[in-house]
């Protein structure tokens, strides 16, 4: 045998032996009460993912025999499918719980390969896949809430003149284009139809320096309030607001902790409650949720606003009263942003 062929023969033998050994093991059947929480990022410091873990932990703690594993996959989208596949292939889990609009298409790729596995995905939408249950927050309402506040604060601070507010996004994606941005704009125009919305894109979810640069330029041009939808890059917007004495409104909770003065308002979602409720159903053996794509809204208390902050309390009383009225009306369906499919 030629010397350059020997290593290949060795590889073939080794691979054959390993394959034989691995095939000899019986296929593992996952414990039906074994849950993985797949965090497409890092849970610590991200309110939405912290709530995901909190909700799932509570549901598992209340279910005798259930166990939970938190898998943090980091922020690189290109690796999420591999991590999900490894979690599925481990055979350790029967339910994977996660939260991100990108997850349904990745889980739909895996579902046919692992027919026993079920997925519960919050902040996402995919109907009709029998292995996947998704729940989408009505983010048009969420955008509307911070839009009204941004409009009121801008009008109060800027006085007469051009009425402009801004949205700085990490990147464009369907939920942003079809729900958040139109909702935010509707909120601004509910305050004054003359409002104009400026839109800027960072290009990624982590570049806070670029976000600060974009925000600085917008604030310099007369914008009073900016809504960042940019993950950790949003901190750059808050830093620019603090530096220039301007304001930012925040999405998905946790914004006040970034700056107690510059962040004047924070829309919230009841992610912990939602994940708890849906996972409880799944662990109780309710298979009817799979294949369903629900939309939850302010009416059910899943979308709201965090009033518990000094920056919000420091706003003029008349402004807060007008804002509270708008939020109350929204919970009663005025304006009606309800939808069943996305």
């Amino acid at each position: 045998m030629h010397r350059y062929v020997r290593p290949f023969a060795a590889i073939a033998c080794a691979a054959g032996l390993m394959l034989g050994a691995s095939c000899a093991k019986p296929t593992k059947v996952a414990d039906p009460l074994s849950v993985a929480v797949f965090v497409p990022g890092i849970a610590s410091g991200s309110p939405i993912y912290e709530m995901l873990v909190t909700g799932a932990t509570r549901a598992v703690d209340e279910t005798p025999g259930a166990r939970l594993k938190v898998i943090e996959a980091g922020y690189d989208q290109s690796t999420w499918l591999d991590s999900l596949r490894d979690a599925a292939a481990s055979g350790e889990f029967s339910v994977i719980v996660s939260s991100n609009p990108s997850l349904p298409e990745l889980c739909a790729k895996l579902a046919p390969d692992y027919p026993g596995l079920r997925f519960i995905l919050a902040d996402a939408y995919l109907a009709g896949n029998p292995a996947i249950h998704t729940v989408l927050y009505n983010q048009k309402e969420q955008g509307y809430i911070v839009g009204v506040l941004a409009g009121l604060v801008s009008k109060d601070r800027a006085g007469p003149g051009a009425l402009r507010a801004a949205l700085i996004a990490a990147q464009r994606y369907p939920t942003l284009d079809r729900l958040i941005r139109p909702g935010f704009e509707a909120g601004l125009k509910a305050v004054d139809p003359a409002f104009e919305l400026e839109f800027r894109e960072i290009g990624n979810w982590y570049d806070s320096a670029k976000a600060a640069e974009l925000a600085g330029s917008l604030y310099g041009s007369g914008v009073e309030v900016i809504l960042p939808i940019a993950g950790s890059a949003g901190q750059g917007v808050v830093a620019a607001a603090r530096e220039r004495g301007k304001a930012a409104v925040w999405f998905d909770g946790g914004g006040y902790a970034l700056d107690p003065v510059a962040v004047v308002g924070c829309a919230t979602i009841a992610q912990d409650r939602l994940v708890y409720e849906r996972l409880k159903l799944a662990l109780s053996g309710d298979e009817s949720i799979y294949g369903r794509a629900d939309v939850v809204s302010a009416k059910g208390g899943y979308v709201g606003f965090d009033r518990d902050a000094d920056a919000f309390r420091a706003l003029p009383e008349a402004l807060r009263a007008a804002f509270d009225e708008a939020v109350r009306a929204l919970a009663e369906g005025r304006p009606d942003f309800s939808f069943d499919t996305f």
Binding site: H2, R3, Y4, V5, R6, P7, F8, I11, A15, M18, L19, A21, S22, C23, K25, T27, K28, A36, K69, I71, E72, A73, G74, D76, Q77, S78, T79, L81, D82, S83, R85, D86, A87, A88, A89, S90, G91, E92, N100, P101, S102, E105, L106, K109, D113, Y114, Q171, R172, Y173, P174, T175, G203
Partner: protein
């Protein structure tokens, strides 16, 4: 350091290290990887036993996991083959990352179009398109070297970095699938992807192609006159010229050949389990390929082992992060230290000789 010592150090590092030395390098890499994984499990995990079990056994525990690890090794082996082709010709091309990324992008762009007219036969052609894209990215370095004697190390990394930015922009901008929440191109039709050989594992024919490519490269370097010329050119260009070899061709062809291999590897990634090009999907494969080539002692025969070792580190660290609490980046750190450990051996030997 004497000239002879300097030359020996250079050859040990980048040229065919010889069978015994290669086996030693592979053993050293495996041993250091195992030791580092054990240390990482002991110090970074609160469940060292389950971290160790997951790291060492999970990638081989089931048929699915093992075959998926093989698939993970395939594009890495093809990229590393590209590294060997350039390094053995004395060209230090560091542009593999951009070439692979361009290959993935081009294949994801071409596959749906080719599929409409050719059906399932489109996959090999999409790989060729990816290979062509890799070749185009490598062309400026090859032309610079051939016509102006430009430093391949510098030109290749500059071009590669520019291409990475351009492909990032293209995937996130004009070619992005607007209906997707991922920053990715349109999904390649299922029929246009590389057929999966053993679902639910991700194994495709890519691993067979990679093995065949290593075999062909081993034959080329060991048994052909062209391979001898290639090696000789890498060791001493003047001497190769005096021997009557076509040094003009060798000044550019290996660079383009490496571009072809990297581009094809990128195409395999896009046409595999991911089923499209996602922003950032090359994920450092260019650098890992240099590491795998060094661990393999620049011998194509040893490359499948080195690629498998690196795939095991990736897969094992992910499994350890899933099944225990080992940080997911531990595998990357271990890989970096293994590369350092293996590539430092000639330097340590040279230092000993000086004493």
């Amino acid at each position: 350091m004497s000239i002879a010592t300097r030359c020996r150090f250079r050859f040990d590092t980048i040229h065919d290290a010889g069978g015994t030395k290669t086996a030693m390098k592979l053993s050293a890499a495996l041993a250091s990887a195992a030791a580092l994984a054990a240390l990482a499990a002991a110090f970074l995990s609160s469940e060292p036993a389950s971290a160790l079990r997951a790291f060492f056994l999970a990638p081989f525990r089931t048929r699915t996991a093992f075959l998926s690890t093989l698939e993970l090794a395939a594009p890495l082996a093809v990229c590393a083959l590209g590294v060997i082709v350039t390094f053995r010709a004395g060209h230090y091309s560091l542009g593999g990352e951009g070439q692979a990324y361009a290959g993935a992008f081009a294949a994801a762009l071409a596959a749906p179009i080719l599929y409409e007219s050719l059906g399932p036969a489109s996959a090999p052609l999409a790989i060729l398109v990816g290979a062509l894209a890799g070749a185009i990215v490598s062309a400026p370095s090859a032309i610079g070297k051939r016509l102006a004697g430009a430093d391949v190390l510098l030109t290749s990394i500059l071009v590669s970095q520019g291409v990475i930015f351009a492909v990032d922009w293209a995937i996130g901008g004009p070619f992005r699938d607007q209906s997707s929440n991922l920053v990715a191109m349109r999904a390649i039709p299922r029929g246009a992807l590389l057929p999966r050989l053993a679902p639910p594992s991700t194994l495709t024919a890519a691993s067979i192609v990679a093995l065949a490519a290593c075999l062909i490269a081993a034959f080329y370097f060991e048994r052909t006159r062209s391979g001898t010329a290639h090696d000789l050119y890498g060791r001493n260009q003047r001497f190769a010229e005096l021997q009557g070899f076509d040094v003009a061709r060798l000044s550019w062809a290996p660079i383009v050949a490496a571009g072809v291999l990297h581009g094809a590897a990128g195409a395999m990634m896009a046409l595999g389990a991911r089923g499209t090009a996602i922003r950032g999907m090359s994920g450092g494969i260019g650098w890992s390929a240099i590491g795998a080539a060094l661990v393999a002692g620049s011998r194509p025969q040893a490359l499948p082992f080195a690629a498998l070792l690196f795939a095991w580190l990736d897969s094992g660290s992910r499994q350890a992060a899933i099944l225990s609490d080992l940080p997911p980046d531990a595998g990357q750190a271990i890989k970096a230290i293994v590369i350092l450990a293996v590539s430092a051996r000639p330097a340590i030997a040279a230092l000993r000789r000086r004493r």
